[in-house]
Amino acid sequence: MDNPVIATPLNAAKIDTDGLTVAELGHTSKVNLRGDFSSSTVNNALTTLLGMESTLAPNAFVSNGASTLFWLGPNERLIYTDSDPETIASQWRDQVGTGAVDVSDYSTVLRLSGPKVRDVIVSGAPFDVHPDEFKVGQCAQTRFGNASILLSNHAETPVFQMQVRWSFAEYAFEYIKRVANYV
């Protein structure tokens, strides 16, 4: 069965200017997981449900292709997954006994690439994205203008992803578009 196309707040909007390419990713399934990530229960659940391990440094993420696991806090992780988010959430609650919530429609994800990416980010974020400080595989929850974001570094070229709340998506996108004209 083909999946229906699910709406995203920016309708897959794009920016393509000199040195910067921005595109909203298609609808991405996301699950917020709570638990004691040092416990074997959690580790077993991550292995059976997602084929992943629970060892993850603060402000880092890891991907195995089908799923990506982000550190959000000492007892909190976020996953992007190709699997059904409701199933993962309910199985997590059964197996681990702590919270798991399908947050797929809580936010959207922008993919930013090109040599101007870092300049665009620092125009709105009080966070150091210098390649020595913010490496591939690292993520950070920070601020872009007035929007809370989850920023992650996916490639040296560079490729960043910015997860932003649904209701702030237009704001962040417009911010990037205007800034792109003068960085």
Binding site: L72, G73, P74, E76, P126, A140, Q141, T142, R143, S148
Partner: protein, 98 residues
């Protein structure tokens, strides 16, 4: 503009945080027996020192965790930040008084 060390995320810009007043004020246990004066004391009265102050901070735009900070209210110096469950770091120059 200054940098605050979140015990979970590390050094971050102050604009990611918010301050929520004096720390280490336990909620009363026998609330049914308290007088209005005692409630007033608990809800409204704070030490408001000119000097070192222990306060509650929230990393709003970051990990969204609460933690405590020991800060000087005149110089804005952050002596230490510490997790809720951590022992209180000593106040400088007071022989380890906490």
């Amino acid at each position: 503009m200054f940098i605050i060390n979140c015990p979970y995320c590390g050094d971050r810009d102050q604009t990611e945080f918010s301050c929520h007043g004096e720390a280490h004020i336990p909620r009363p246990t026998e609330t049914a027996k308290m007088t209005d004066d005692e409630w007033g004391e608990y809800v409204f009265f704070r030490t408001n020192p000119k000097g070192y102050h222990r306060e509650r901070w929230l990393h709003d735009h970051g990990c969204r965790r609460w933690f405590n900070a020991l800060r000087h209210t005149v110089t804005d110096e952050f002596v230490a930040t510490y997790k809720i469950e951590d022992p209180r770091p000593p106040i400088p120059g007071e022989g380890g008084r906490s």
